[in-house]
Symmetry: none
Subunit: 226 residues, 2 copies
Amino acid sequence: MTKSKILLVDDEPDVLEILSYNLENNGYKTFKAKDGKEAIEKAIKILPELIIMDVMMPNMDGIEACEILRKDPKFKNTIIMFLTARAEEYSHIAAFQAGADDYVTKPIKPKILLSKVNALLRRLNQDNISEGPIEIGNFVIDAEKYNVLFNGKYFVLPRKEFELLFLLASKADKVVKREMIMERVWGSEVIVGERTIDVHIRKLREKFGDNYFKTIKGVGYKFAKS
Amino acid sequence: MTKSKILLVDDEPDVLEILSYNLENNGYKTFKAKDGKEAIEKAIKILPELIIMDVMMPNMDGIEACEILRKDPKFKNTIIMFLTARAEEYSHIAAFQAGADDYVTKPIKPKILLSKVNALLRRLNQDNISEGPIEIGNFVIDAEKYNVLFNGKYFVLPRKEFELLFLLASKADKVVKREMIMERVWGSEVIVGERTIDVHIRKLREKFGDNYFKTIKGVGYKFAKS
DNA sequence: TGTTTAATTTAACTTTAAGTTAATATATCA
DNA sequence: TGATATATTAACTTAAAGTTAAATTAAACA
């Protein structure tokens, strides 16, 4: 993979230097701009993956620059991160509304900065193709809305029930082993009894009928479309 | 929500048919054009949300059509997506330069096509939220004026309350996780107790009633239109 | 600049719901 | 059939959220 390009925007050369130093040392290619106007010009040429930008700048501030960039489809996948002084009691909302993805407060702590940058760029590179609700049989299972549309009726399930249903439905027609269910729904740290899964399956059957959740004895369960 | 309109442009009727079939089956309204020239004429009438267009066409190719469309402010929010044969790798650069948002390679794989179309249109619909006040249910929430019109009455909320309401309303019907609320309303560096969110939710419920703010236990809250 | 008022947070406590267990019943398969 | 796995229930435990009042902090104002 090629180095990610990061555009740094701040009116203080010192800040640019700190940012650049830390990011270059961690394998990123950095570029600098001194205000919002220059940032936009450079962004168009460079097409960076990430822009780290001060909120308060002369000429054109970060929020305004962010809004302009967000209107250009070329930057629809570009991550924009703000720098704010802790003192500035500005509302985060303005920044997020303008299309920011995250922010870091000054003074900059290199560790925090890097962990955020890494996290954001990792997220960018992950394909988010498998988004949206699962539609299967009579079910529409929407993890975002946390609800289940079943035969035209909405259900709001308790968390574990929902996660169990979601897991089974997302592997429809395939057997999900009990240990896999444990791992996915309860996690490898929690220790709960074996019957717990059964009880939750039962709750699902109570709500949606017996047909959809098939027991594979000695193995696990599978979701059947009908 | 009304069906999104998609304009399909290709000189091969077969390709138009495949696209149309898959998209109509997924709740989109489609229109067809056989070259760039016809595409522009139809686009002006239809004002589609999305245009899917072959790069190589007789009369006027996709790139040229895209450039022309991009000059017209009517289409500043229209998404343009190209179809390219896998071989013609070179054209991607030209396409993006002309203002394309995405591309899909032929032969068309319906699943990939649909996930891209869904993702692009979802993003389009979200972006529009950031401009002007949010109108939802009985609420008109204006982040610029920092006020809330609810059932014909104006409210001026304290900052945190407002930001919480704004956040939930801007993702109406979707669950906003507690950690996301923390991050967005309080910021990732401030450390406040868990109950703080609850208390603010309670304040909102006091003002606007219990119906609008739904608890998803173990996850977060969601704004319900009614 | 101190004073007052409002906003925000905390802490203690209550309520509610979710999740688990364990005992018993039932089903399944060799 | 008999061994073994799963199903079912109800009782219980734990976790999460709701509520209130008091304490803290920030904002407004004279």
